[in-house]
């Protein structure tokens, strides 16, 4: 399974879902088959596109950097943006677009404040871990933020956090997630 059950659980049954950077479409397929959801994925990669089509998951080939103009305001119950925000040059603009298109947004990204990362930076090196397996010079993660940072960005963009937690080895971390979790998860809506 390439998606996290804790994230799938955040999606209300029967939702109309837009999954930005949907990969091979596994999560969407799960939501459609087991939670009565409907919707689309957005994906740039050719191989992922084919995987979605074979599953029967509707997928739109689009570069997220080019925005979501093709989708109307508030046209989805849930917009998922899992492990993609950190790869986008205009991450803040994308977050605004997510909130425009969806009644609810769910975002996940690597938490750079996880303690092993802090430790490596303390010793003078950029972190290379299981959650962040890249060297500083070849990483696609061009927006490096922390669990705590996202809260600040959300407030700035008048987003109301409905739920948030960390994920560490598939386990939900609700105690000191900024220190204890390698992945940050936020569920939010517009104020």
């Amino acid at each position: 399974m390439s998606f996290d059950p804790a994230i799938a659980a955040l999606v209300p049954p029967g939702s109309r879902v837009l999954d930005l950077g949907c990969g091979t479409g596994e999560l969407l397929e799960h939501l459609i088959k087991h939670k009565g959801c409907s919707g689309y994925g957005v994906e740039l990669d050719d191989a992922n596109l084919l995987a979605c089509m074979k599953r029967g998951v509707s997928v739109i080939q689009r570069n997220l950097e080019e925005g979501l103009a093709i989708f109307e305001d508030q046209s989805f119950d849930v917009v998922l943006q899992l492990e993609t925000l950190q790869n986008l040059r205009n991450a803040e603009a994308m977050l605004k677009e997510t909130a425009r298109v969806g009644k609810m947004g769910i975002v996940s990204f690597p938490n750079f404040a996880h303690w092993p990362n802090r430790l490596q930076v303390l010793f003078g090196r950029m972190p290379v871990t299981r959650a962040l397996p890249y060297e500083w010079y070849d990483t696609p993660n061009i927006r490096v933020g922390t669990y705590a940072d996202f809260g600040v960005l959300a407030r700035k963009n008048r987003l109301k956090i409905l739920d948030s937690f960390g994920l560490q080895n598939g386990e939900v971390v609700r105690s000191r997630p900024n220190l204890m979790a390698s992945v940050a998860v936020f569920k939010f809506e517009r104020e």
Binding site: P13, G14, R16, I32, K33, H34, K35, G36, S38, Y40, D46, L49, L50, C52, M53, K54, R55, G56, S58, V59, I60, Q61, R62, I70, F71, E72, S75
Partner: protein, 390 residues
């Protein structure tokens, strides 16, 4: 390319006695359609795929004609046993549209009212008229619902029209390198081609058959301008660049100097040998007229309100005649109507021509999509999970 050829094929002619009312208000009293089919129609008659052709193609979509070298159908690279559109799974129908010059009733045939060839008097036909005729053909096969209607360019417009006007009669609509209508620039290209034909002294107002001549000069120029718009700047640069035909410049204003000139003249000559001038005028007009949003105050989203099919829309990044932006207009209208749509924007260098070529990314998309359709045919219940928590 994986898969095999469907082998030698032969066309069939279907006669229709019931008059066909046309958009123009005119009507075709009776008509024939030339048809080829590949693969087997299953017992449920649920596995049929209709292939709609573009400007200069025909019902000969796949396979070869016995004893004729280089007689492969125009989409032979896509259709056959084990190919992306697999004839081991699907029953594929190719049909030649009315007004064409490849056997279906057209301007070269006899007008029953005059006993002479229709020529320029052949009624103006539209995409909708073609689709109406195709729908009657599909009925003739006893098919209530097509698994898919597939087309590229002008063929894609026909596929879209099927989804708009016969929503219950197709499960999937596959529209490739097409547009919701032609831009002014596109109409302009068509008009240049038409003027080239109409002003050829051999055109005789469209009644050139009686004079025993063919307006070849006009057809050549029409094809040359068309061909330029089907290719991308990059692919032309790569194929021809500034390469000379001879070893040095000839300092002539009228002889061929550059390879690109030679290529265009060759394409024009070849085309003028087999294509009919009146057909060219009719088909470019059908392109110009197609505009489903026009009946809905220019609102494409409202136009697609009637559609029920699932859609695959595909475009090519270097296609400037039917650009990705035009395909995205279609996708947006489908999304606004909450229809099931997948969209592939294929990074291919060949321009509009790409939809006819054997590009691995492009054929990969079609193969994956047809596999999905085949899976749905095998397990019809498994796809109806919408609104149902299992």
């Amino acid at each position: 390319m994986t898969g095999r050829s469907v082998g030698d094929v032969s066309p069939q002619s279907f006669h229709f006695d019931e008059p066909l009312p046309l958009r123009s208000g005119a009507s075709l009293p009776a008509y024939d359609l030339m048809v080829e089919t590949y693969g087997q129609l299953n017992a449920e008659r649920s596995n049929a795929v209709l292939v709609c052709h573009a400007l200069n193609a025909s019902h000969h979509v796949a396979g070869t004609y016995a004893g004729q070298a280089r007689s492969e159908g125009w989409w032979d690279n896509l259709i056959g046993p084990g190919k992306a559109l697999d004839t081991d799974k699907f029953f594929v129908i190719g049909v030649n549209n009315l007004g064409s010059c490849f056997g279906s009733t057209g301007p070269m045939h006899v007008n029953p009212a005059t006993g002479k060839a229709w020529g320029a008097d052949f009624p103006v036909v539209t995409v909708q008229d073609w689709v109406d005729a195709q729908a009657r053909l599909v009925e003739r096969f006893g098919i209530l619902k097509l698994a898919a209607v597939l087309g590229g360019s002008l063929g894609g417009m026909q596929a879209l029209d099927w989804a708009l006007r016969y929503p219950e009669r197709l499960s999937h609509c596959i529209a490739i390198a097409t547009a919701p209508n032609l831009s002014a620039q596109n109409i302009a290209f068509n008009e240049v081609a038409r003027r080239a034909i109409v002003t050829d002294p051999d055109f005789h107002g469209g009644h050139f058959y009686e004079h025993g001549v063919v307006p070849k000069r006009g057809l050549r120029v029409a094809r040359m301008i068309g061909h330029i718009t089907y290719l991308s700047d990059d692919v032309m640069a790569e194929k021809f660049g500034r390469e000379l035909k001879g070893s040095a410049l000839g300092y002539s204003t009228q002889e061929i100097e550059f390879q690109i000139e030679s290529y265009l003249r060759y394409q024009g000559d070849k085309f003028s040998d087999y294509f009919d001038a009146n057909t060219y005028l009719l088909i470019t007009r059908a392109l110009d007229y197609f505009d489903p949003a026009a009946e809905h105050g220019g609102d494409l989203t409202r136009a697609f309100g009637s559609a029920r099919a699932k859609f695959l829309v595909a475009s090519f990044t270097t296609d400037w005649r039917f650009s990705p932006a035009r395909s995205r207009e279609i996708v947006k209208a489908l999304l606004d109507n909450r229809l099931d749509v997948s969209y592939a924007e294929i990074d291919a260098p060949h321009g509009h021509d790409a939809f006819l070529l054997d590009d691995p990314r492009y054929h990969g998309v079609l193969r994956a999509y047809f596999e999905r359709i085949a899976t749905e045919l095998e397990r019809p219940a498994a796809v109806q999970f919408k609104g149902m928590a299992i």
